[in-house]
């Protein structure tokens, strides 16, 4: 396995005005290794993602992706390099059909977004690829429906489909099972496991649900009050007294 980290975040700090949200956070994600970032509410997980994915420009530190310094690059440039994120809340194109949702990133990736003349549905290679992705995510029978009409769990899978369509190297999943029913959660865990094992994509997720984290992650970082409190394998994290204290005990047990 490649020994160079795919994502190397060094001493990341971010503040809103005088309020420090992140202080000297260093995180490494090795390729092919399912890494998770956990922490109590308000620990700074989402801010961390926003700094890494280009939504915020961090006030300090460096973000290196695939050997390249991407600190402060805008979101669309970061995305083009192969670092993508999914969102905590459903974030799709509600008024477009399921197929069109996936065609948007495929069109952009193929560099065909500025084609003014040719009809988008007459691009068989892209339509085929879109159908393939939707098939894989179990959405094949929904292609012609308006995305806004689908149930919650399906919308979340469209979210994953949008990410998959871009052939990413690294995907940041921000609480992928938030708000899901237990069945939907199990299905999502299965999907993440399968994709991590077979698609060649590296996943980095934040999660609230400890059950999810301990069942999928290979390596865990714990964020507490904007700092990395601990890191290690799921077993090491489970046994770490500092982590237990941060979570006020109990809730770490699945």
């Amino acid at each position: 396995m490649n020994s160079r980290p795919l994502l190397d975040v060094r001493g990341l700090s971010h503040r809103f005005g005088r309020f420090r949200v992140l202080t000297d956070v260093s995180v490494r994600v090795m390729p092919g290794r399912l890494t998770a970032l956990i922490g109590p509410n308000g620990a700074g997980k989402t801010t961390f993602y926003n700094c890494v994915s280009g939504r915020y420009v961090p006030t300090g530190g460096k973000v290196v992706f695939d050997g390249r310094d991407i600190t402060g690059l805008p979101a669309h440039r970061v995305a083009r390099l192969g670092l993508l994120r999914s969102f905590q809340i459903t974030n799709i194109f509600p008024g477009l059909t399921v197929l069109e949702n996936v065609l948007v990133p495929l069109t952009l990736r193929a560099g065909r977004g500025m084609r003014f003349w040719r009809a988008h549905h007459r691009d068989p290679a892209l339509v085929e690829r879109a159908e393939e992705i939707l098939e894989r995510l179990g959405l094949a029978d929904q292609v012609g429906r308006r995305a806004s009409e689908l149930p919650y769990g399906d919308k979340r899978r469209i979210e994953i489909a949008l990410v998959m369509a871009l052939d990413p190297k690294l995907v940041l999943l921000d609480e992928p099972t938030a708000g899901m029913t237990p069945e939907e959660t199990d299905r999502m865990i299965g999907l993440i496991r399968e994709l991590a094992a077979r698609s060649g994509i590296t996943f980095f997720l934040t999660e609230h649900d400890m059950k999810v984290v301990f069942s999928v992650a290979d390596h865990i970082y714990v964020l507490h009050q904007g700092r990395v409190l601990a890191q290690g394998s799921p077993d090491e994290i489970r046994g770490d007294p500092r982590v237990r204290e941060a979570y006020l005990g109990g809730s770490l047990d699945p």
Partner: protein, 318 residues
């Protein structure tokens, strides 16, 4: 509706419009010409409004740039139709590139206010720069060019109508291709969720700017037609109140269906004709029609009709 039947519908509509001057009285030929011109303005406006979710409140100023560009050429240059179009359409494209560049980075009300502001500035230029634009009198007193090859004079209202129909049909054809293109898809995605679009790798501002230029250019073409039709260019068409027209037409006809704004333009003029024969205060009636449309039929007249006819639950209707 399948692609084939849609093409037939379009051709049928075009043929019907082409036959109109042979059957309707001359007065209505004038009205229909104006409907077509306003239809193109409203449809080009809707590329931004319905397509990208951007409310431009300065569309009339680009329409005016087209009109003044053509008038300046016809007044000072050779009586060439091609040159008049080149000046009007080219001028509008250039101005929309500059204005668009400065506006597309803002959303919603801020975008609307910026376009309104630029519209007011352009109106003031047209109104106050007397030496070039003729001030509040505008530019007139130029001869109308003849149609190349055919040699027909645009002074004949029927020739003017058919010429307008040809240009408007071409403009609507361009909008249709753009609407259905890969670019059109990405543009609709930017309307649906601009932030998500950025996160799948698109520079939203770039797509919006391209749409702004296409829209402004076609509005400029409508302005050239308006200048030829009226044989003058006046500053009132650049006033911000005039920019409300394409907005009203798009809302009235329906911004979610392709031909909705053109339909809205027709409804607008039909209503105006019907009401002004009775009372001068026709805007009261327009308001009285618009309010229930917005409240109860937000998809507009044509949008609502299409929804009743077609199956529910599809993506974007066309």
């Amino acid at each position: 509706m399948g692609g084939g039947s849609r093409a037939w519908l379009g051709l049928g509509l075009l043929a019907g419009l082409a036959l109109c001057p042979l059957v309707v009285p001359m007065y209505w030929v004038f009205i229909l010409t104006e409907v077509l011109i306003m239809g193109l303005l409203a449809m080009s406006f809707n590329l931004l409004f319905g397509g990208a979710g951007l409310l431009s409140f300065g569309q009339a100023s680009l329409f005016g740039v087209g009109a003044y560009g053509a008038a300046l050429v016809l007044l000072h240059g050779p009586p060439s139709l091609g040159l008049a179009f080149a000046a009007g359409v080219g001028g509008a494209a250039l101005v929309s590139l500059v204005i668009g560049y400065l506006c597309v980075r803002r959303d919603e009300i801020f975008f609307a206010m910026l376009t309104l502001g630029f519209g007011m500035m352009l109106f003031t230029v047209a109104h106050n720069w007397r030496e070039v634009t003729g001030g509040s009198d505008g530019l007139s007193g130029f001869a109308l060019p003849t149609l190349p090859v055919l040699g027909l004079s645009l002074f004949d209202p029927r020739v003017m109508y058919w010429f307008t129909l040809a240009v408007v049909a071409a403009g609507v054809g361009v909008l249709w291709r753009v609407h259905r293109s890969s670019f059109g898809l990405v543009l609709r995605a930017s309307r649906e969720n601009r932030e998500r679009l950025a996160f799948v790798g698109a520079s939203v501002a770039r797509y919006r700017l391209a749409a702004f230029v296409v829209s402004g250019t076609l509005s400029g073409a409508a302005g050239v037609l308006f200048c030829l039709f009226n044989q003058m260019a006046t500053p009132d068409v650049m006033h911000w109140a005039y920019s409300a027209r394409p907005v009203l037409m798009a809302v009235l006809g329906g911004s979610t269906v392709f031909l909705g704004p053109a339909f809205g333009a027709a409804a607008f003029f039909a209503l105006e004709q019907a009401v002004t024969s009775v009372t001068d205060s026709w805007m009261i009636v327009l308001g009285a029609v618009l309010i229930p449309v917005v409240l109860y039929f937000p998809e507009g007249i044509l949008g609502t009709l299409v929804r009743w006819v077609s199956r529910p639950g599809r993506g974007d209707r066309e």
